[in-house]
């Protein structure tokens, strides 16, 4: 048992993650070509605008289920929303936010763009702490937007007229994944601006701008889009009760800051917070780079059903980082 434990603690999780990401990217972008459909309501950006996708993002189901009148929503048909939500939770509870770190194809794409940047020697950017604090609110605004607009299309709020149907689906039309993911199957149909009505024109133009921002942003900032992802916001609401946990034992932390330096999103609390045991923050994608980079025995721990499956250890740290003396902990090429 101890051998297995030591093997896991010394394992190169990033390499494992790299291969999992390749596999899941192929599955969720090209799976349809082999007739594979994993499920609907997945907690990842498996984009249904890609006709060959092997699964479907929960956000599109959520928007469709909310695009209904109050009467319908609170009738038997409202169960459809609950079923979709239940499916989403069922998937989410097992892997928590590791869906983002290991499986989300849009996250994988950002990691590949980062690898490309590193390979050509361009340095990366980090947000200043105040900027980070303000930017992280955007994902909650997106979440509210995608919850409210479908309801406002189907219902009247405060006696106001219904919103035009052309705003629908309010998030997907401005989501960069809608434009970018179909391109991987050679489908350029989403790379278009819809002139058929003013809302369609506004939304599709915003979608194209978001795609441009995604490409450039991901190039200079690791996991650029994850900071604005409403799926991440929705996941965080249930993250505390998921089965997969990232725990921190503050009494073992020396505040060396390694965990913060390797964090792709740039979560400072991972280093600063020595009080909380559950250290999964709203922007965390559970890539476990922090656990890999932590040299303190048992300080950070990944646990499933309260059983530790990966624990930070000095041995593991030196095994991963010590072999290559030139490899810097910052993960920065220069």
């Amino acid at each position: 048992m101890n051998k297995i434990k030591t093997y896991l603690n010394n394992a190169d999780v990033s390499r494992f993650r790299f291969w999992v990401q390749i596999f899941t990217f192929v599955l969720f972008v090209y799976g349809g070509y082999w007739g594979i459909t994993i499920a609907q309501n997945l907690p990842i950006f498996a984009c249904p605008y890609d006709h060959a996708t092997g699964g479907t993002c929960f956000l599109i189901s959520l928007q469709h289920q909310l695009h209904t009148t109050w009467d319908t929503l609170f009738s038997v048909r409202g169960f459809a929303l609950l079923t979709a939500f239940g499916t989403f939770l069922l998937f989410f509870f097992f892997l928590n936010k590791a869906w983002c770190g290991f499986i989300c194809p849009v996250g994988t794409l950002q990691d590949w763009i980062t690898k490309f940047r590193k390979s050509i020697g361009v340095r990366f950017s980090r947000y200043e702490e105040t900027t980070f604090k303000y930017l992280k609110v955007i994902k909650y605004l997106f979440l509210i937007w995608l919850l409210i607009v479908p309801l406002a299309i189907a219902n009247s709020f405060f006696g106001l007229p219904h919103m035009s149907h052309d705003w629908f689906p309010p998030f997907c039309t401005i989501c960069p994944a809608r434009v970018i993911m179909p391109l991987f199957t050679g489908d350029v149909s989403q790379l278009a601006i819809d002139f058929s009505s003013t809302p369609a024109l506004i939304m599709t133009t915003l979608g194209i701008l978001a795609a441009a921002l995604f490409i450039v942003g991901s190039f200079v900032k690791k996991r650029f889009f994850c900071l604005f992802c409403p799926m991440s916001a929705l996941q965080f609401l249930f993250s505390k009760i998921a089965f997969l946990r990232l725990n921190k034992y503050g009494d073992k932390c020396t505040k060396c800051g390694n965990c913060y330096r390797v964090c792709d999103v740039g979560i400072k609390e991972i280093a600063d917070d020595v009080i909380s045991k559950n250290i999964v923050k709203d922007d965390c994608m559970m890539c476990f780079k922090c656990v890999e980079a932590c040299p303190e025995d048992g300080c950070l721990e990944v646990a499933m059903f309260k059983i530790p499956i990966l624990t930070a250890s000095e041995n593991g740290f030196f095994k991963r980082y010590g072999a290559d003396e030139q490899k810097e902990i910052t993960d920065d090429p220069k």
Binding site: Y49, H51, S125, H165, D166, V179, D187, V188, S189, Q190, L191, A192, I193, D194, F195, S196, S197, A200, T204, T205, I208, L209, A211, A212, L213, I215, V216, G217, V220
Partner: protein
Amino acid sequence: MKKIIQLIAFFSIALAISVSGNERIWLSNSPPSKVADKIKKAGMRRLPVVYGKKRQMNIIQWIRSGELPQNSKYAEPNDLFNVQLFVFDPDGESVTGKIEESELGFIVSFPADKDGFYSIYLVEKFVRNDTLNFRVAKAERMNHSCRTGHDKALIRVQPKTYPQQIPIEIVRERFTGENLHTVMQPGDKVTFKTLINGVELKSGNIQMVTHKGWKNSKTTDSKGEVSFQFIQDDNTKLKELRSRITFNYLIHFTHTVAESGIVNDEHYSFINYSSTFSDTYRPSQMLYSSFVWALFVLLGSVLLLTIGIYYYRRRRRVEYREVA
């Protein structure tokens, strides 16, 4: 007691709707794939035709059933009950058409030698489950070839109704300046009028479905009118633009009233009116510019952002200065 009667009436109407109005019959320009190669097309609208004796041109239409134009099945004779065909030429005169099962499928055909809109109606009238059902499938097909000229074009495109023969009508109101060449496309706002026995249907629920499944439902106003604005279909391929392809869209409404009577010795307590109207549209001709604009916006934004980030980083670079 009154409440119980209301409740029974409600469930009876619901039952009447559920058993009678489900199957939507409509008329389509598109042949089944197995006979597609055999079909000749004529005129500016590329209508499917067969030629009779003395090169008499007959327009043909396929009878289909289903909710979505893209997935509707090709109907069979058993799908229709007590059906009558009415065809009217652009001058409003009756034309003799026929419903037949041929090697091309289950079709409607009629001779066409005038320029303008031909109105085709399949009318079914039958009693089932204490309900008198009127099911009407209407299509308007523009027969035009520029070789025959464009005289009185504005008059020839005007809609006509035939309340004596057709109990339910869905009328597409014409655009300002509509002519023989006008084809609907995404972005257009189209108004429809619904009439039952020549009287406008107020507060009727009308549904529109495009070929690729975009749906919208609206309620008619006091004039019996309702307007829809077409939205660009997802996944429109460039080849669909290049081949002058047109798609069908469907308008559907159903309306039930509590009215009793006897038809062919069969008693009924309700009348269910159900009608479809099929017409054609083509992918937006602005689609090319949609792609070009999107590419321009994408590449322009990427370039601007890159230049912005480059100068931002350069401005923040602190040059080494030797301390004195």
